[in-house]
Every structure is written in C-alpha cells, then in structure tokens.
Symmetry: D2
Subunit: 255 residues, 4 copies
C-alpha cells in the first residue's frame, strides 16, 4: 500500500502540481479542492495516465467537520496519511479597511489559520502514534509583513506562521516535520494568480515576466523543493525557507 | 473638553495603570474590562481622587457589537477618542494541542485579533476624519515566536502583529499612529499573572524576582513608555518596541 | 558634578541634537566628531548659551587608541560617563560590488562595528563597577536587510546589531542598558543626508517632503525618544525600537 | 570538463561531506582548508576512490591575497567555478567581553565576513559573465541573535547575513544564486564540534544525543539539502533556510 499525500487546496498551480510530484514518487495523492469537479478529475486522470495513484474530492475547508471527516475517511479507505500539503490561502487582493467586512476578515482566518489548526488536531495524534509525518504549509510574504490593504490575508497568514511554530515545537520531537514554505513572489498559476488578475492581465504578465524569462515561479520547479523537504532526514530538518524567482526582489529589499 | 483615552482591558496591571497615567496627563480615561465591577470602580475612584477624569464600563469584547456600541457612545457622550490602548491578551497558559478545543482556539482569535480589527473598523475612519489618533497595542513575545502549548495565544498574537502592520501601512500617512508594544517578560500584575499562577506562586515570584529586584515589569514604569510613544511627533514615530526587565533574558537569547 | 553624556558622531543632525537634549536635562555633553572644528565649537557654544554644559573634541574613531584615550580622559577630567550615544554610520551611498574596494568595505566595519566594540571594551567594565549605564546606538535599516549596493554599510550594521544583542545579553543584568534605535528613514540632517545628496538636492527634498510636511525626521523630535529610552526604569527597558516619519513606508512594506 | 565546486573550509564535517556529495554528482570538488594536510588528502583520496574528482589545497583564508589567488588558479588550471561552498565560521566558544581581545574580535570578521566579501569580489564578476553560479553559505544561529559571550562570532555572522542579502539583491537577477543556510544546532563533526568540546565530551554527546538518536545533525544528510538548493531552477530559488535535528529546539523557542 502506497503512503498517502493529502493536498488541501489542489488547484492547477502549486497544489495540483505538488500532488502530481508525490504521485510520481510513489505516493497516493489525495487531491481536495473547493470547486471545479472537472478540473479536479482532470488532475486525477493526468496522474493516473502517468501510472500514478490519485483520488480527488471536492471539499469546502470551512464547512464544519468537512476536513475532519475527509481525513478520517482517507485514513480508513485509502491509507495512513504520511504527508499533508496545506495549500489554502486567504488572498483576496488589496481591500482597504473601510471596504473589508467582518465576514471577509473572519473568512481569511477560517481558511488560512483555523483550517490548519483543525487538520493538526485531527491528524497529528494519528501521525504521532505512527511515529511521524510531514506537514508542508504553503505560505506567503504576508506571513512576515503586513502591507496596506492586506488586513485579512496578513492577519491570517501571520497567525498561521506562529501556529506552524507552536506545532513544530510540540511535535517535531515526536517525529512530525512541519515546514513553512514562504512563497515570496508571483506563481505561474491560472487558478489563483490567473483568477485574481483576470485572464488578459495574467497572459500579459506571463509574456512579460513568465515563460522563458522565468520571472514567474513555475509550480513544477517549486514541487521539487516541496518534495525534497518532505524527504529530509530527521537529523536535518528545515522548518522555514523562502522561494522566489531569481529576477524578483526579495520581500525585504527595496529598489 | 479633555481628549479621551479608551482602554480595552483595564485590569489592575498595564491597562488600569496606563489609564491612570493618561488621566494624570490630562486625558479623560475610559476604562473597559470584562468583569469585576468593584475593581473597575476602584480604578475610576483612584483616578478621580488624584484629580483626574475617568469613566468605567464592564464590556465583553467578544460580544457582538459591544465594542462598536461602546465606541459610539463614548464619542457621543464623553468626547472624541484620541488614544486607544488595546490591552486584551489571549494567554491561557500552556495547553497541548490535544487538550485545546476548537472553541478555545477561536476564542484567542476573537479576543486578540478580531476585537482589534473591529475597533479599527469602527474608530479609524473617525480618527482619520479628525486628522489622526493613536492606537497602542500591548503585545507579547508570542507575537514573534511560537512555543509548544501556545497554539491559541501565538496564532492570535502573530495574526495581530501583522494586522498592526497593515493598519499602520494604511493609516499612518493619514495621521493614525499604531504602536505594537512587545511585552517580553512577566508583569507585576495581580489581575493577569497573579490569576494565571495562583496567589501563592505569584507572591513567591514577587519575593524572588519582583519588588526591590525589579525582575518583574512594573506597570507604572511601563506606562511612562506607553505615554511617551503616544506623544511622539509625527516626524519620528515608533511602530514597534520591546519592553523587559533588565534582569530578564530577551526572547531571542538562550542561556 | 553633572553626569556625562558622551556623543560619538556629533554632527548637526542626530548626534549634536541629542547632545543638546541631554545637556538641557542636566548632563555634561561631550561631543566628538571627526572634523569641522568650527561646527563643533558652534554646537558647544549653543549648549552653553542655553545654560548647559558641553565640551567638544575632534576625534577620528578609527585611529588606533583614539576612542579609548578619549574615554579615559573624559572620565578623569570631566566625570564618569553615564550615557553614550554611538552615532557613527557607514553609509557611503550605493556602490556596486565591482566599485567597492576592500578598503572601503573594511572602513565600514571599523567605523560602525569595531569602534562600538572598542567603546564597550573600554567603558562597560567601568560602568558595571559603578552599577550601570546607558548605551544608545543609532542604527539604520541596513542592520535588518541588505539592499543592492549596500555591501559595506549593511555588513557593518548587521554585525553591529548582533553585537548590541550580545552586549545586552551580557551586561543588562549588570545594569547597562543597550538600546538599538533603528532609524528607518531620511533625517533632516545637513551634515549627513545633506552631504550625501548635495546641497541642492537636499534643499529640494526638504521642500517636498520636509518642513511642514514632517516627511523628514526631525532630530530634535528624535532626541525626545533617545532621552526617554535613557531614562526608562530598569524594570521596563527597551532594547530595540524603530523611528520613521508618519508619511514614510516602513522598511518591510512595499507599495 | 566537469563543473567545479569550490569548498572553503573543508573539514571532516559539513565542508568535506558537501564536497564529497558534489563530486558524487559529477562536479570536480576543490577542497580548501587551513591545516591538516593529512586529513585533506584523505578526503581527496576518499572521493577519488569512489570514482569522483577532487583536489585539495591548504589555504589560510585570512592571508592577504590567498583566496583570490586560489580562485584564479583553480579557474585557470581546473575549470570555471560553478558552485562555492563558503563554510568558514568564527565560533571560538563563549568568551566574555573582558576576555575577548581586539585581535580575536577582528579575526572573526576577517574569517566570517571579509573572506566572503573577497570571494564575491573575485568570483562574482566571472560568474556573471558566464551567466551565473551558486554561492552556498553555511551560517549559524548567531547570524540572527546574539547571546552573551558571542561578541566576535555574532558580529561576524550578523554582518555576513546582511552581506549575503546585498549580494543576492545585486546578483540574483544576473543568475548568481546566494543561499544562506542557517545551521541551528550541533553538527556531528569531529573537526569543529569535536575540537571545541574536546574528544571526551564530544563522544559523550554523541552517545547521548547523536548516533541512533539523530539528535546531532549528520553532515551527509545536510549535504542532500545543500545539493538540492544548488540545483533549484531559477524560477524558484531559496535564499534562506534553517536546518536542525528534529529533537532540537529551534533557536526562537524556549522550554
């Protein structure tokens, strides 16, 4: 039986691509996303066509009990979850305080912070009993600095970063590897960046900075690092690392 | 009419003492706390006995609309709020993941992150219209690093720190000074540390490290710095500073 | 006999102005700078005209033994040094790696890092014996992030920030208060910014962002915070704080 | 002709082991260390016995011109340097300020900061002309926090971290990948930890925390991550990551 890699937030960017990578390396990838059954089944079929194992589920992470039930069912029906990729963001673009509702502020927290806590609650005791596991968290620059208009996103991501630290402090000695992967730049991902910018602007950006310029981060290249981190020997674990295109300014730099 | 200083979390530690300081400097201090009407009225009476102005309200910050209504009433009945001290924490002591309920995790966020957002939503547009204001936020080490057992506290405080940055980035140019005051050590405060440790352990700590040793932070000395920050000229504002006893190890140091 | 405040780097910006502030508060200010005897004597005369005490010395901080001798002489001839303001920078403007000589790289370290170490070596044992002292260090954004072209400056400032932490960790429990004051923005200072930009550009900047705009940091307003930090009670010391104009973007923010 | 990997600081820990890894992956490893010709030649022989290419040189990094000349000779005689591992530290154990000489303080800077600058000066223009290269820097916790007794080490490492940022900001867009690898824990390395602790204490530590406990970092496992970083696609580069044993407390945590 193959070990299971559970991806929460498996769109056609980082999530789906990392799922594919793990499947290619011998995992059964369980892909969960909120919507687009067709896109989801396409990802699953792609993996299977390459000889890999994958299953897909639509799942709204903020629904009460949905994450917990999915984890329980996967463990019963597919196998023990060895790796989780938590790939939910809370980026809704810039929104000034006056235009940001309580509901949206809370939504960011429910998706990016509370959902992660719920997964840890449900899964870490199981992983601990089995001797360990890996928890990969896709994070964003907003976890380390708050720009104007990023109230919901930055509060959710900043809380999440601290939560990754508390989980790591409590569970690393028991074999659970928590990694906070700070994605500091634009990803060449139609399902997230594409939707945020709109199709036209996204294609323009791709032409100007992406493609042969490598100025947009390529999910399949990022997946190499996600996978590497998951395979690190326990005597040499990474808790936090950043990723950005060579041509992009690091978040701490100004021109 | 005196300018108003609104204190959210006005116990017999930092909150009440800073309220007293602002009253002594010519503000009308509005003290809000969740419980202990008697303690609250004592604080108010103390300030008035020294010739200062103060009003006290019991207020549960997580009740829907309570903060918003209090702000509106204070502005109508007492005067425009010039300074806010946000002094709510989410420290419930160390609690391992398995013993921490969803409810407690959420409570931390409601008190330490969401309440701050709600105040900003209600008050910043008013302050902006008046040309400015000051927002002092008491923070804790958990805002910058997450220890084992601190899941709720650290997630809430880490989110809050980023929220302070987003608010600062958006509103500083419009005259609102947001200061994130990182209290990195034990405060000589019966209402918080005293309750967390229990009366006996708190008195023992006071004897060993507090009193003439100055190893516990004295609220009346901290209040000097809170007040100073609120009076900084807009050409030289501090957004973040730490406070600890001279004899305490900084959070980043190890022995 | 008045307590002594020693200023290393006493130009007509932060250094001289903080020296003036301490003199006004009852200190004997000892002002040291590398050149411009006339400017130095003007500062001294200004302080004396206001009824304060001050002495001025030309001093090249990188000369072997010069700092050490000056400290010894001040302690013998004027009095025990209670406060030091270390105000030397290593900013030489942007210089690409290929245009930066070994000599310039080393110079940055000698001025901004090694000189601070030398002062601590000479003075901290004396302060410790007397029960304490205060060491205020003017720092810059380059201490926390390295931009292109800032090789010498950032390496020197980054090393210095860590040195301030090691000194603080070792000496705070013995009563020496080390404060790292991160000046994150342009200061309205003819001797530094003025010289770096040139007279004309400096005046233009002043008109556009300074003066009634308060977009350049005013040394006399900054001096209020320097002084406040020096007077903090030992139960509530600040080790690090930032300062910037309300209208300036914090170093961690991007537009 | 194989690409060259130059290791500065090639002892029997991280340096030699990473050199071995690159040789196994098809690089010609050039190993430089200050002393122990016998140990050096053993490393070279080991690599060659495994079918790899390696050359060893004794080199004192702080000697004037020594690094520069070695780089020029390697480029002429062996081939263009594609990867550098800069592995020099400045750790001399805890030494209180009063026992730390100017000479030792400067030595830390010469080895850990200035030597890195000199290599960049000599090599980056060559790498840039060839379209790129990789600069891996072994760093330590002292680069991000300064403990008591670490004046020389922390000042040198903190300066170095900022220098890595300035170099990255200036050269990443031109294809040079600078990675700052924060080694946050004890490495199972006889040449460094062994010498610092003494043979007996080192063996005791190995028995208690190392070996099957994996509580000391294993250089051959760390080398996997060093190598991975060097092979990252330019659309997804890591500038900074940490490494520690699963059972070790992260530097930011307290028990």
């Amino acid at each position: 039986m193959k070990p299971v890699c559970l991806v929460i937030g498996a769109g056609a960017g980082i999530g789906g691509t990392v799922g594919k990578k793990f499947a290619a390396e011998g995992y059964h990838s369980v892909l969960c996303r909120r919507s687009d059954e067709e896109g989801l089944q396409k990802l699953v079929a792609d993996i299977q066509a390459d000889g890999g194992e994958a299953t897909g589920y639509l799942l709204n992470a903020i629904d009460e009990g949905a994450l917990e039930e999915r984890i329980r069912l996967v463990e019963e029906e597919i196998g023990p979850i060895e790796v989780v990729l938590f790939n939910l963001g809370a980026q809704i673009g810039n929104r000034p305080l006056e235009e940001l509702s309580y509901k949206h502020f809370e939504l960011g927290w429910r998706m990016a912070t509370f959902a992660l806590f719920r997964i840890a609650k449900e899964l870490f005791p199981r992983m601990e009993e089995r001797g360990g596991g890996t928890f990969l968290v896709t994070s964003a620059t907003a976890a380390v600095r708050g720009n104007a208009g990023q109230h919901s996103h930055a509060a959710a991501m900043g809380g999440r970063r601290m939560l990754c630290q508390t989980l790591n402090a409590e569970y690393a000695p028991n074999g659970i590897h928590v990694a906070h992967i700070l994605v500091d730049g634009a990803v060449d991902a139609p399902d997230t960046l594409g939707k945020m910018l709109g199709e036209e602007a996204f294609q323009k950006l791709r032409e100007e900075r992406g493609q042969e310029h490598d100025g947009l981060m390529l999910p399949e290249k990022m997946a190499e690092t996600y996978y590497h981190v998951s395979q690190q020997h326990r005597s040499a674990w990474t808790h936090e690392l950043d990723l950005r295109s060579f041509s992009d300014l690091a978040w701490w730099n100004h021109r």
